[in-house]
């Protein structure tokens, strides 16, 4: 299956939805910092993997798919939930990559330059997630 870009999301997303993502993202980053300062890095570190994007993505995808079907004259549909389930499948794969990001930070940060560690950890997150996603698609296609 081919990966491609579709910018129509920008038309469907309202300013309120952008603002809520910004506020939620900012709030959770702030809270993570405060928790790490107050309770130490072992507790605070848990929140580095907090699902900051995933819940709002699920609700937005469901809403946009439902609106699309309603415009087509279909009032009752579970298409929105099924589309959100596909997104959740991707997030489950991405969370494995997220664990690998944490592993790279844990093992390499004490010995490498911080900027390089964050770059390598990000690349590892994407590579692991993409390869698992691709392998799964290949397996399903056979």
């Amino acid at each position: 299956m081919r990966v491609y870009f579709d910018a129509s999301m920008f038309r469907r997303t309202t300013w309120g939805e952008y603002a809520s993502r910004f506020l939620f993202g900012g709030a959770i980053t702030l809270v993570t910092g405060i928790l790490a300062k107050r309770y130490g890095p072992v507790f605070g570190g848990l929140f580095l993997a907090f699902p900051a994007i995933f819940p709002s993505s699920l609700t937005l995808i469901e809403k946009h798919e439902r609106q699309k079907k309603q415009r087509a004259g279909i009032s009752r549909t579970i298409r929105g939930r099924q589309a959100a389930a596909l997104d959740a499948r991707g997030a489950a794969i991405g969370s494995i990559g997220l664990g690998c990001f944490g592993l790279v930070v844990w093992r390499l940060l004490p010995i490498w330059r911080p900027a390089l560690v964050l770059l390598v950890a990000s690349l590892i997150w994407f590579a692991v997630s993409f390869l698992i996603w691709r392998a799964r698609k290949f397996h399903l296609a056979r």
């Binding site: 299956m1 990966v3 491609y4 579709d6 920008f10 993502r21 910004f22 993202g25 900012g26 959770i28 980053t29 702030l30 910092g33 790490a36 130490g40 890095p41 072992v42 605070g44 848990l46 580095l48 993997a49 907090f50 699902p51 994007i53 995933f54 819940p55 993505s57 699920l58 937005l60 995808i61 929105g80 939930r81 589309a83 959100a84 389930a85 596909l86 997104d87 959740a88 499948r89 991707g90 997030a91 489950a92 794969i93 991405g94 969370s95 990559g97 997220l98 664990g99 990001f101 944490g102 592993l103 790279v104 930070v105 844990w106 093992r107 004490p110 911080p114 997150w125 994407f126 996603w133």
Partner: protein, 113 residues
């Protein structure tokens, strides 16, 4: 106070950027990968290294693995429940955040502490 404001803005920008990328790539299962992007980690770690040092941030990285496993549990349960169509995304999201919190704090109590 200014440091908190800076952290808030950096977090908001990075989380929004990853969410936007996840919104424009297709197919949906691929876009889902960006729902689990290390957005909070990237927003937080640079500031943490600057303020508290590399060892402190490395210890956070270790705990992040447990947080990611809790995330995986949340996402798998969400996929399972949404695919059956019985629960809406809002219900699944709120319940899932609770599950993530319980699983992550459980891992902290049992393994990390």
């Amino acid at each position: 106070m200014l440091q908190y404001l800076f952290r808030f803005v950096v977090g908001g920008v990075i989380v929004s950027a990853f969410a936007a990328v996840g919104g424009i790539v297709k197919p949906k299962s691929f876009a889902g990968l960006f729902g689990a992007a290390p957005s909070v980690a990237l927003a937080t770690l640079g500031l943490t290294i600057h303020a508290s040092g590399k060892q402190f941030a490395a210890a956070e990285g270790r705990s992040m693995i447990a947080g990611a496993l809790a995330f995986c549990l949340f996402a798998y349960l969400a996929r399972f429940l949404l695919a059956r169509g019985r629960f809406g995304a809002a219900t699944v999201s709120i319940a899932g955040l609770g599950i993530w919190l319980v699983a992550a704090i459980g891992a902290w109590l049992l393994v990390l502490k």
